[in-house]
Symmetry: C2
Subunit: 459 residues, 2 copies
């Protein structure tokens, strides 16, 4: 076969051993916490029937779904007319019946519906798997990336929302982050505001404008609101909302006045208060002072969230949100199972990776790599080094014998490049004395040890 110069498909990445160690550090930290809160892992297939995915992500989303070409003579049933017209869009359903997972939420909804007779509600699951999107790749945006989702369906208790705040707090703290905000909003509050000003269709415009308060000041925001279709009368109704400041409790008090006439708005405020109350009962009221922040400009996922909305940002590094989520009252309706409420959050593993890297928060080394390399001075010594190698591994120590008696320099550079912390130098003298020379690759120090002491030291 002809030799070709290999390359990666656009927007995809290899993960080297060092990167995998770091990624596993993130995944394992998250998994441990998810399990502690009663969430169980599931996995769904990488591809789904195309009909399962289309129509769930909007027209733009549909375009970004990777379709898989049917196997065999895929054109045999394709309508001649569409081929003649070169009608790419209309032809898809004739030549492709499968597509790569675009997110973890729709496959999860399918899972719940298909397994409804075997699962016990509330069903609490987490899922850490790659998803694929035909986006234009750019710095920090890939066509294959991992999502870490944790969701519960079948429980309307706001304890779930409070626990997601704790999960975010515990996970990010455990990963070493010190200054981050878990922003909270409620779709019903936004609906209430829309009701009060009578402009439901302008909710997104409103939140976009208000969000700029720090940058463009009050006059700027008012000007932008007018440009976006609000009237002077709307503006005066909106003033307490635009200037919403202070502690979470102060904000709630102001909102209550503004939304006094809106049943749904008050319901939203009550939901937020209940979440805060759960945090207090859990002994975590201190999170409300700084870390958790009521932010009514948070309009993430407005199309599908029906209750609380979450978004997490770090203040230590310039970076978009590193997590988010919310409650959707009808997750599984798209597959015919009505009235099953769900709430969930997601961790942006790739962004968290970048944040930890920038802040140098990855542990300096962990259990994932070889602990000791036995230098191979002479294959004749293998009668001694191989039983030792076996003994080390029996003791659970990750160990290697360099597989050939090449120059010492080459063997040391192998240990260096694999960041192996210890090297064992065993020559004739060591064999006869039983005192082995162990070199610490970090400090350069060397010490003599017998086998028992060596195993104790490396264990």
């Amino acid at each position: 076969m002809a030799s070709i110069k290999p390359s990666l498909a656009k927007g995809t990445r290899d993960f080297t051993p060092v990167e995998m160690e770091k990624r596993n550090h993130i995944y394992n930290t998250l998994k441990t916490i998810f399990k502690k809160y009663g969430y169980s892992e599931i996995q769904t297939p990488s591809f789904e029937n195309l009909s399962t995915l289309t129509g769930k992500y909007g027209d733009e989303g549909d375009k970004l779904i990777f379709k898989i070409l049917n196997s065999g003579d895929y054109l045999s049933k394709a309508p001649e007319k569409l081929l003649e017209e070169k009608n790419s869009v209309a032809l898809i359903s004739s030549i492709s019946e499968k597509a790569l997972r675009y997110d973890l939420t729709v496959p999860f909804a399918r899972y719940v519906v298909m397994h409804q007779n075997e699962i016990s509600l509330p069903f609490k699951r987490f899922q850490i798997q790659p998803v694929w999107r035909a986006d234009r790749p750019q710095r920090g945006r890939y066509r294959e990336f991992y999502q870490c989702d944790v969701d519960v369906v079948g429980s309307d208790s706001l304890l779930n929302e409070a626990e997601f705040i704790l999960i975010y707090h515990e996970a990010l703290t455990k990963l070493g982050l010190k200054d981050f905000n878990i922003k909270l909003n409620n779709r019903k509050i936004l609906s209430g505001i829309a009701e009060v000003v009578g402009k439901p269709e302008l909710i997104v415009d409103m939140t976009v404008a208000i969000d700029k308060l720090d940058k463009i000041g009050l006059d700027g925001v008012n000007k932008e609101l007018l440009e976006r279709g609000f009237t002077e009368a709307d503006l005066s109704a909106l003033q307490p909302i635009i200037e919403l400041r202070g502690t979470n409790l102060e904000k709630l008090a102001s909102l209550k006045q503004v939304l006094a006439g809106s049943t749904i708005g008050l319901k939203g405020i009550n939901e937020i208060e209940t979440v805060f109350e759960y945090l207090r009962k859990l002994g975590q009221a201190q999170l409300l002072e700084n870390e958790v922040e009521l932010d009514i400009t948070l309009a993430r996922g407005l199309n599908y969230y029906t209750g609380c909305i979450f978004e997490v940002k770090t203040n230590e590094v310039q970076m978009g949100s590193i997590g988010g989520g919310g409650r959707y009252d009808d997750l599984t309706g798209m597959f015919g199972l009505k009235d099953l409420t769900g709430v969930g959050v997601s961790f942006g593993a790739d962004r968290i990776f970048d944040v930890l890297e920038e802040l140098n928060l990855f542990p300096p080394s962990n259990a994932e790599r070889t602990k000791v390399l036995i230098v191979n001075f002479d294959t004749a010594l293998e009668e001694f080094t191989l039983p030792l190698l076996y003994q080390l591994r029996q003791a659970g120590i990750a160990a290697e014998l360099y597989p050939a008696a090449v120059k010492l320099k080459k063997q040391m550079s192998y240990a260096d490049s694999k960041q192996i912390p210890y090297v064992l130098l065993i020559g004739d003298e060591e064999v006869s004395s039983g005192q082995l020379s162990l070199k610490n690759m970090d400090s350069g120090e060397q010490e003599k040890l017998n086998v028992a002491a060596l195993i104790a030291k490396l264990s």
Copy 2:
């Protein structure tokens, strides 16, 4: 959007929490052992450029590669002629430039070539990821399945081969298997036999026929060999090979006589002897008595293996091979990096799963699930139960409070279906006495404990 009845794409599977626990048990066992032998994890993208994959798996393999349709107006550059002809095969390269990973070996070769300046040889890696094949699904055969590969490139030492035998032995033993065979052959021995009888093109026919010795007897094998193109003269030359019996050492002795005139054949025998010698030095000679078996009918991967060939079979369950591999002298040549030798083995995780299931070898329970459910009798009790819930989790205990005060029966059936081992029953009496009722879901026994004793018991 219209509601549709959801289904899985053909040949794919969901993994439930219970299945994920079991799969993770297998993966974690393998990973721990791979690392102990100095192998590091890497991952490669799910899709590769189509040109990276085509031509590597033979014509049949190429047909089984899942191709991904180009995004956007994918027909715009498609030749009209091919569309008119409905030429599915020729059109592929115009409308698809990416394809799903078919195995882990070709992406690994690509990885090595692309990262050659940053990796230090020998490069020892393992990789556990799904692969996709457009096979016709059937019992035990899926279109998405996991491969667990462990390979080293850049070392021709036969110590690597010996260590793979130990890795198989240790991994399968650790998973609970008691009776399995690690079969070993060497491509050079097969080449030697072909040289001796002068029929290199009939090697596969020969091994297929000889493999039937137990079923059809010596006369049957001889008859089949004649049908497959061997002559009476070939048969007499082949008799010692057909009737090869006895211990591994006896087999080697017979082969040495038959292959005395073949340089390559003797080289193959020498390689096997060296592997056995390494096992002896490692203190594992006893594996040669029963578990490791020289089997010259083993012709797996004859197209690409150049040295040792491995295959693993369990004798406890009716099942095809649960692992295999071998040495390939020119792994990366397909991508222009010549003369880099590699050797590796693979574990069939899906088949191992089925074997462990059939033999009931999965651990009865492990750390992956919720340890205790606090029953929710009355939301008024949450002032007591929520701080307790927080305290349990702080102690690292996976715990849940049922999120609503529904009927006890429903809460108990939730605990049952999640196989939660303990349930905490906390009513007014327990709150005032501080003595909590803990029910063992398995035995039905109930005991009274204070918080400290509870945490000690569940930790």
